[in-house]
């Protein structure tokens, strides 16, 4: 290499570093980067904990909005913004996204892509966030596509279709970048799709591997589906997983089998629905699985955060994976092997009387949906549904929300029609019994509840814990709150004017700590007064 070319390469490398481009090392060390928020769960272990402590239990009462960005778009804002190098990257509903100036909240660019008129959806048009690598941002669109955007301009660099939306597929998940690949899940189980987890080359968009969450003929687990019911087996993967670089394993939860409430067409355990999967990050091969709710007939997706912590359980140090399941139980698994460690009910449960030593629920008879209806707790939404959770190494506690209450489950046999709802009936609320909620703090080594903050409505927001001893969360009625992470005491609140459906993030910019969240259809960044 001659001297000018060599020099140019050095300059380019310096320029890339100066621009703060995100490489694999930066992602692996994201927990130590106070000035950025680089992935959905903040670190590969999905802790959503920042050691930042400028805002703490003593001064949080003084924080106020530093800026507010009004998106002027409607729909559910469930995004986890990313932050790096002075810019915030935010996704919104209906295929919108923005880049915002961290200093002022002013828009730098706006990306949008129309949602097809004939796209059928179960649950609105939310999106849960970007992933980032180099100068590329990755997001899914509602019509089951994955796009890479130039972080500087918002221009599309490549776009791939993961699945045909006309068959009932859609997508809302925040991607996860691992080893130069963009890993994404898919949604569609309410329409009798057969679902998967995909990994795409971050530079080209070429698919590197796919793991079908419902095994096909000849594959282990296919025998857990009667007849050809596996073809419509669901097991969506609509919430971001986690990653252990040391084990090179990706952990990802799966959703309900299809049809949701009618088990008759699909006799058997219906693997790998309602399961936690551990996949080899390089090949997508299954290393282990654990099924939380075999043969689910209550729509208890198991997609919620798989959080990786090293913790003592029964006197033994464990590399654990903890997970609050929609079926009403908090679980701890050994993440090296998938071994069941324990489960504890965290809300009212009337369908299982504990677990076997292997973690299989001991069923209470008569809780299956019927035509006339069966009262079962928790209700269809859980328990803990999907909202982002947080683990604070400072308090040693794990934080998640819970919907509390029961529902009446109605079942009915229904033939499959491609692209149409394949639910096997529906739920109804119990008259005079409003569904409420909780923010819970649990000891991850025992499942013991340390405190509960009651909510008058089912929860909507995720969690953020910080080194300032704080837990940030929001409510359906529009409050954004700071609780004492140690005991759940309310320390600060603000009525934002719109439902808080997203988890908050935090970062340091020009020496100040900010806490930012989506509320209503706005993004608000809070800080202490200058």
């Amino acid at each position: 290499m001659n001297r000018p070319v060599w020099l140019a390469c050095i300059l380019l490398a310096c320029a890339a570093a100066a621009l703060g481009q995100v490489d694999s090392e930066a992602l692996a060390n994201s927990q130590q980067d106070d000035e950025s928020w680089l992935m959905y769960g903040r670190n590969y272990s999905a802790w959503r904990y920042s050691p930042l402590d400028q805002i703490d239990t003593g001064n949080v009462g003084q924080i106020a909005p530093a800026w507010i960005f009004q998106t002027a778009e409607s729909g559910k804002f469930q995004t986890t913004p990313l932050v790096r190098d002075g810019v915030m990257y935010v996704t919104g509903p209906s295929n919108h996204a923005w880049a915002l100036d961290l200093k002022t909240g002013r828009e730098l660019w706006h990306y949008s892509e129309p949602v097809p008129d004939d796209l059928t959806l179960c649950c609105g048009k939310p999106n849960r966030g970007f992933a980032i690598l180099g100068n590329l941002l990755f997001k899914v669109n509602m019509q089951a596509t994955l796009v890479a955007l130039d972080a500087t301009t918002g221009d599309v660099v490549w776009e791939v279709e993961s699945a045909d939306y006309r068959k009932g597929y859609s997508n809302t998940v925040a991607p996860l970048v691992v080893n130069g690949m963009v890993v994404v899940g898919i949604a569609g189980a309410e329409f009798g799709t057969r679902d998967f987890i995909d990994a795409y080359d971050a530079e080209t968009g070429e698919r590197r591997w796919r793991f079908w969450t419902v095994p096909g003929p000849g594959e282990p687990g296919n025998e857990t589906w009667g007849g050809d019911s596996w073809k419509r087996g669901g097991a969506s993967t609509w919430i971001t997983g986690s990653y252990d670089p040391e084990l090179n394993l990706i952990y990802w939860g799966t959703g309900n089998p299809g049809p949701d409430l009618d088990g008759a067409p699909r006799p058997g355990d219906n693997l790998y629905s309602d399961s936690m999967l551990a996949l080899d990050a390089d090949t997508g091969e299954l290393r282990w699985h654990f099924q939380f709710t075999p043969h689910d007939v209550h729509d208890w997706d198991s997609v919620a955060d798989p959080v990786l912590i090293d913790v003592e359980i029964d006197g033994q140090p464990r590399k654990a994976l903890v997970h609050a399941n929609r079926n009403g139980h908090f679980y701890a698994l050994d993440r090296t092997s998938g071994e069941y460690l324990f489960a504890r009910a965290y809300t009212e449960v009337n369908w299982a009387d504990g677990m076997t030593s292997a973690g299989r629920p001991i069923l209470i008879p008569g809780r299956e949906p019927t035509d006339e209806g069966t009262l079962t707790c928790p209700g269809m939404g859980g328990g803990h549904n999907w909202h982002a959770t947080s683990y604070s190494p400072q308090t040693g506690l794990y934080y998640f929300n819970s919907g509390d209450g029961c529902q009446i489950y109605h079942g009915a046999t229904q033939d499959f029609v491609e692209g149409e709802f394949y639910l096997g009936s529906a739920m109804e609320n119990v008259t005079g019994e409003p569904r409420e909620g909780s923010i819970l703090a649990v000891d991850p080594g025992t499942g013991d509840r340390r405190w509960r903050f009651p909510l008058v409505s089912p929860p909507t927001s995720g969690m953020l814990s910080t080194g300032g001893g704080l837990l940030f969360a929001g409510t359906l009625e529009g409050y954004f709150v700071a609780l004492d992470a140690a005991d759940g005491r309310l320390l600060w609140r603000l009525q934002t004017g719109g439902p808080v459906r997203a988890p908050a993030i935090t970062y340091r910019f020009e020496g100040r700590q900010y806490v930012a969240t989506a509320a209503g259809s706005a993004i608000i960044a809070f800080a202490l007064p200058r």
């Binding site: 004939d118 059928t120 209806g373 109605h410 009915a412 046999t413 229904q414 033939d415 029609v417 149409e420 709802f421 394949y422 639910l423 096997g424 009936s425 529906a426 109804e428 609320n429 008259t431 005079g432 019994e433 409003p434 009651p454 909510l455 008058v456 409505s457 409510t475 009625e477 529009g478 409050y479 609140r493």
Partner: protein, 259 residues
């Protein structure tokens, strides 16, 4: 593959407005009816009942429909909604094919006719504004009070069974947004009324005089939400004939008085 053929027929015949067909192309098709039933339970059962028996919305299992008994009439109501009632338009949330499947499901119920009530609307009106005292809480058109739900169009949106239930057991199925808030202040006073809002930190309510009260939880002893009705039962205070007269009057409230 049968449904594919039917879908094609729909696509050809319906057009963008979905109004060209008189009859659901899925009429009598068991598979489509099953899908229509599933969609009904997902989208419609919260108001019309899990078995289409009615609730906050009118019953749809009697083979007769307020907006007309042709398939296309039912289609139009689902797609466009009913202005002035809680019935929203589902045309933007469902494909045309799926709405036709719901229509096919609803046409599986045999016509049994709506329940006829032996009463007199004029006498019912007199009870409403007189001895019954209903106008002290409810509005019809511009007359009456706004403490309880507006009944201007109640005959369009509630079945006679639901109206009777509301008259005899008002707390059994409360209208959306109606609940009672009971506040005990630090000095021991109790303030209760219809809740305008409640959250984890505050509550707003209107008392029987219509006055607004707003409380922060930190300033009071307790705030409780009760899913009961402040309306008394009329099972004892009105005779059977008076109840029937009142029902017939309310059945006739279809919005014309709102001028």
């Amino acid at each position: 593959m049968r449904w594919r053929v039917l879908t094609l027929l729909v696509s050809l015949a319906v057009g963008a407005a979905g109004q060209e067909l008189e009859r659901s192309p899925f009429h009598g098709d068991e598979t489509s009816i099953g899908v229509g039933k599933a969609s009904f339970r997902l989208r419609c059962s919260a108001c019309h009942g899990i078995h289409a028996e009615g609730g906050k919305g009118p019953p749809l299992n009697r083979g007769e429909f307020a907006a007309g008994n042709r398939d296309v009439d039912i289609y139009r109501v689902i797609a466009r909604g009913v202005p002035g009632t809680e019935m929203p338009a589902y045309g933007t949330r469902n494909t045309e094919e799926n709405i036709w499947r719901i229509v096919a499901f609803l046409r599986t119920f045999e016509a049994v006719g709506d329940e006829r009530v032996d009463g007199n609307a004029e006498r019912g009106e007199a009870i409403f504004w007189g001895t019954g005292g209903c106008g002290g809480c409810h509005k019809v058109g511009r007359r009456g009070a706004s403490y309880g739900p507006d009944l201007t169009r109640i005959g369009r949106s509630r079945s006679v069974q639901h109206l009777r239930e509301a008259l005899l057991d008002p707390g059994k199925d409360l209208p959306a947004g109606y609940f009672v808030v009971k506040v005990v202040t630090r000095d021991g006073r109790t303030v209760s009324g219809i809740g305008s809002g409640i959250d984890d930190f505050s509550a707003q309510l209107r008392d029987a005089s219509g006055r607004l009260h707003s409380f922060l939880r930190e300033d009071v002893e307790s705030i409780e939400r009760e899913f009961t009705s402040l309306m008394p039962s009329y099972g004892e205070s009105l005779s059977d004939q008076q109840q029937r007269d009142l029902l017939v009057y309310m059945q006739a409230l279809r919005g014309e008085e709102s001028r």
